[in-house]
Amino acid sequence: MESAGAPSLFTKKGLQGAMMDWAMRDEHFKTQLFRFVDVLPSLTSSSEISRHFREYLEGEEAGLSSALRTALKAATGAAWLFGPGVSSQVTAMARQFMLGDEAKEIISTLRQLQEAGFGFTVDVLGEATVSEAEADRYAARYLELLSVLARETANWKPCNCNLSARGPVPQLNLSVKISTLYSQIHPADPETAIEAISTRLRPILRKAGELGAFINFDMESFALKDFTSRLFKTLFGETEFASAPACGLALQAYLKNSEEDLNDLIAWARSHKRRVTVRLVKGAYWDYETIAAQQRAGPFRSLARKPKQTRILKNSLCNCSKTATCWMRLSELITSAASRMCWRKPTGSASTIAISNFKCFTGWPNRSNPRCFN
């Protein structure tokens, strides 16, 4: 792996590289920089961009050390004084992780991936859904993406990723965030939300079925976890979707009850004779969940000493160092699932769980479990 060279974000020359470097050395600078990046796209004029840049990074009020300010000035030069310069830097940074919005850009990146031997799943980024009109727009966007991608990828040669021991795996893979499909999800009334989301999802599933595409439900915040599983089981339990489209669900390694959820899903898959793919992810909401749980539970003392304070901390979040814990849970879950699926003789149409994907970044697996990458 060492021979592969550093991740490209760290090898960036010039400003971007310097920014990342400083961000890793100075927590305050990191906060200021990322807050600036966060606000940047909503700024419509150069003068607004300059003002925010000053407030976050340049002026006295930004509170950066004078050495850092001098270095920043030297490195940024004139480019930062003009809005478009900053914007293009950040856009370039964003390009690294996002495929863009134009069908052409998307297709061209996916093609490169395919040629390099990677499969893909497409996730739609966007604003939070605060109204029903916005939920409709998301549903339309998912449908449109399916059509466009199906048309464009139809003649691609399957890559390694899409050939499994059990036969071909759908090439077209779409990840759906269920919170985008209804604006009024309320914990007191999951039934209405399931109804509303199902109404928007059925045409998407129908189309995915016709196109031979794969639909994955992404996992979001803890409050939506059980709800997402329930929706998944409800919809894919319907006669129409009993065999198509191919489907999967994400499970978050940082949740203690993921194992329980996994077993539950295996049982459901068996009883419905349905093949379900589990995408085991580290989980992206750690900080949010811990903070939210602490806010709910009032003055926060010590999780280590008092893990009983709230349900989520007690039952759900592994309460210690984030990366190491997640890796341990990943390896535990994988080995536990692997023992279920690999060492059991496949019987006819019996359903299986395939651990298909690691959506994770940091850390390293437990060495005592070398199996976990296989």
Partner: protein, 609 residues
């Protein structure tokens, strides 16, 4: 694996001939920025494996350490910011994502329905006192459903309750502070025990939806536990200054007997908070709840008795505020009044209490919390995902019937069109209906009178500003619905901009820059809550320094204050500057005493204690 991340790991996996799928986000840059920030955070995290490998150049052995070892070293470290041990903890909300909890809520509503329409007498000296007159309390969602009947006290019962309180108070004042605090803690545990049934009662009697009802009961529990903890601290005499040969100690005495006049909008929390604070401080009180929510008050009175409060320390007097309430407020034998309600009544109480009558023992203390005309500024660079949701919740939560509710929204011109488009479609997506239907956000307003009054104000608004949106409500003649309404281009001189409406009616005004927004925001006689959504550090600092209100919220809703965390209360025409749920609140019900003793006898001082 995520697109754009950890390329070395990916190529290593490919070389091993493993199947690999990339997670590829597509979309516009603008809404995608949160995703970018998350990726950057991961890339620059100190725990990041690749960053450690390629940037910090850690050795292979260090990188491949068993995470168990890393954990053993860091356990209790990253997540255990230890704060000093304190007694008080906030009551967490009910987690309604759990099916069993939702079932409990439904069961409680069913159970409650079997017991509606009972008579709720006065309680004087722990004795239930019936009256010839009874006033029905109606379900705002169904005016044919009588929740219960409240006894209607006359001057005679008011006098009797006052006599009972006066008689009980001296003994109660001599009860050690710790014992008084223990009774309050007992009350908190009883409120916890009956939590779901109290929530159900709030749903039917006050029209609170499940989450709002839960928040109100949780706040009542918090008040009891918090004031108990504070009284334990205040109960111990405190040294004022250390000086040889003299002891100087300050301690607190209760004020005596008071009246607690509470509103219906937080029917349990506010009544409990004001009563609990007064009582734990060693006073005796007469509870005078709102006519709209007497059954909840009666439940509280039952629990006060069950908690072990001695007879006469708390008495319940329901009845017409104009006669019975006014009589008590003006009474020379009353030492203090704790009031939360409208500005109109508050000012009357303030004035009456200032008049000293023959036979009056002292100056009356008035804790007076009134309304607001609360303002939120949406800056040109605000995060609209957050701002839209926050403004919706602040303006329309509990139908805008919170003292803290948003009623004047000021939007910077830069963001105006984009914000309004999303805001109005978001408002149009809200679920409207009876509060007991789970998942509704907007329910009926409290009463027929309130409905008429708000509808009239909307008519006034039509002549003053532009009605840009009005929602639809169920066509149910038995319910007190008011359609949620948004006015734009509201001029600062209009009634719409100046008067408290206490309903789901929002005024929007456009501002050309942040300074103008601030001066618009401050153009009000009220000063209760306020807020701003902004991502400009300079504008946030300006708001913090200049927005005139008792509770300022940045980048979040302006409702939902939590006990101890956000002591709540305003100034100006919003109140006398007292803070419910704050550290100093108990002092409103106490007088400080300082005792100085010369410890020198013929030049000889005792060894210091």
């Amino acid at each position: 694996m995520l697109h754009g991340m950890a390329e070395p790991v990916k190529s290593a996996l490919l070389q091993l001939n493993l199947r690999l799928r990339e997670y590829c986000p597509v979309g516009e840059l603008l809404p995608g920025m949160a995703y970018l920030v998350r990726r950057l955070l991961e890339n620059t995290s100190n725990e990041g494996f690749l960053a450690n490998a390629f940037v910090k150049g850690e050795s292979r052995d260090a990188l491949l350490r068993n995470p168990q070892e890393i954990l053993a070293g860091s356990r209790g470290n990253s997540l255990s910011r230890v704060e000093p041990e304190r007694k008080f903890r906030n009551e967490p909300p009910i987690d309604l994502t759990i099916t069993a909890k939702r079932e409990k809520f439904r069961d409680a509503l069913r159970e409650l329905r079997k017991n509606l329409g009972r008579k709720h007498p006065l309680v004087i000296n722990h004795k239930r006192v019936s009256t010839p007159e009874w006033l029905p309390s109606l379900n705002p969602a169904n005016q044919n459903e009588i929740i219960g009947y409240a006894a209607q006290a006359t001057i005679a019962e008011a006098e009797a309750s006052l006599a009972a309180a006066r008689k009980a108070q001296p003994d109660w004042a001599r009860t050690p502070a710790n014992e008084r605090a223990a009774i309050l803690e007992k009350l908190a545990s009883l409120l916890c025990r009956d939590k779901v049934s109290l929530c159900a009662l709030e749903t039917l009697e006050a029209g609170k939806n499940w989450a709002e009802a839960d928040a109100d009961v949780a706040e009542a529990i918090d008040f009891c536990n918090f004031y108990a903890a504070e009284m334990r601290l205040l109960g111990a005499p405190q040294l004022t200054q250390r000086v040889p040969g003299e002891s100087n100690v300050q301690h607190w005495w209760p004020r005596g007997v008071g009246i607690v006049i509470a509103p219906w909008n937080f029917p349990l929390a506010i009544l409990t908070g004001m009563s609990a604070a007064a009582v734990v401080a060693g006073n005796a009180v007469i509870l005078k709840p709102s006519d709209q929510t007497p059954v909840i008050a009666s439940r509280l009175m039952d629990l006060l008795m069950e908690a072990g409060l001695p007879p006469g320390v708390a008495n319940l007097v329901t009845g017409p505020g104009g006669t019975v309430g006014a009589h008590l407020v003006a009474h020379p034998k009353v030492d203090f009044i704790a009031f939360t309600g409208s500005k109109e009544v508050g000012l009357k109480i303030w004035e009456t209490s200032g008049r000293t009558l023959p036979g009056q023992a002292g100056l009356k203390r008035v804790v007076c919390e009134m309304g607001g005309k609360n303002c939120l500024i949406v800056d040109g660079d605000a995060d609209l995902d957050e701002a839209v949701a926050g403004c919706i919740a602040s303006a329309f939560g509990y139908q805008g019937q919170k003292c803290s509710a948003l009623s004047r929204l000021i939007v910077l011109a830069d963001n105006y069109d984009k914000f309004m488009e999303r805001f109005i479609t978001a408002a149009a997506s809200l679920r409207v209906g009876s509060a007991e239907t789970p998942g509704t956000l907007l329910g009926p307003v409290i009463s027929r009178d309130a409905q008429k009054r708000i509808l009239k104000m909307i008519e006034v608004g039509r002549t003053e500003a532009k009605l840009v949106w009005q929602g639809k409500v169920p066509d149910d003649p038995n319910a007190c619905y008011v359609p949620p309404t948004i006015f734009a281009d509201v001029p600062p001189a209009s009634r719409l901009f100046r008067e408290e409406i206490f309903g789901p009616v929002l005024s929007v005004t456009k501002a050309k820059d942040f300074d103008e927004a601030l001066s618009l925001a401050n153009d009000s006689e009220f000063a209760l809550t306020g807020g701003c959504y902004s991502r400009s550090p300079v504008n946030i600092a300006k708001a913090k320094a200049n927005l005139v209100c008792g509770n300022l919220y940045i980048n979040r809703t302006i409702t939902g204050a939590i006990v101890e965390r956000q002591p709540f209360g305003g100034f100006g025409m919003s109140g006398g500057g007292t803070k419910a749920g704050g550290r100093e609140y108990l002092q409103n019900f106490l007088v400080p005493r300082v005792v100085t003793e010369n410890c020198l006898r013929r030049g000889f001082a005792a060894a210091e204690e």
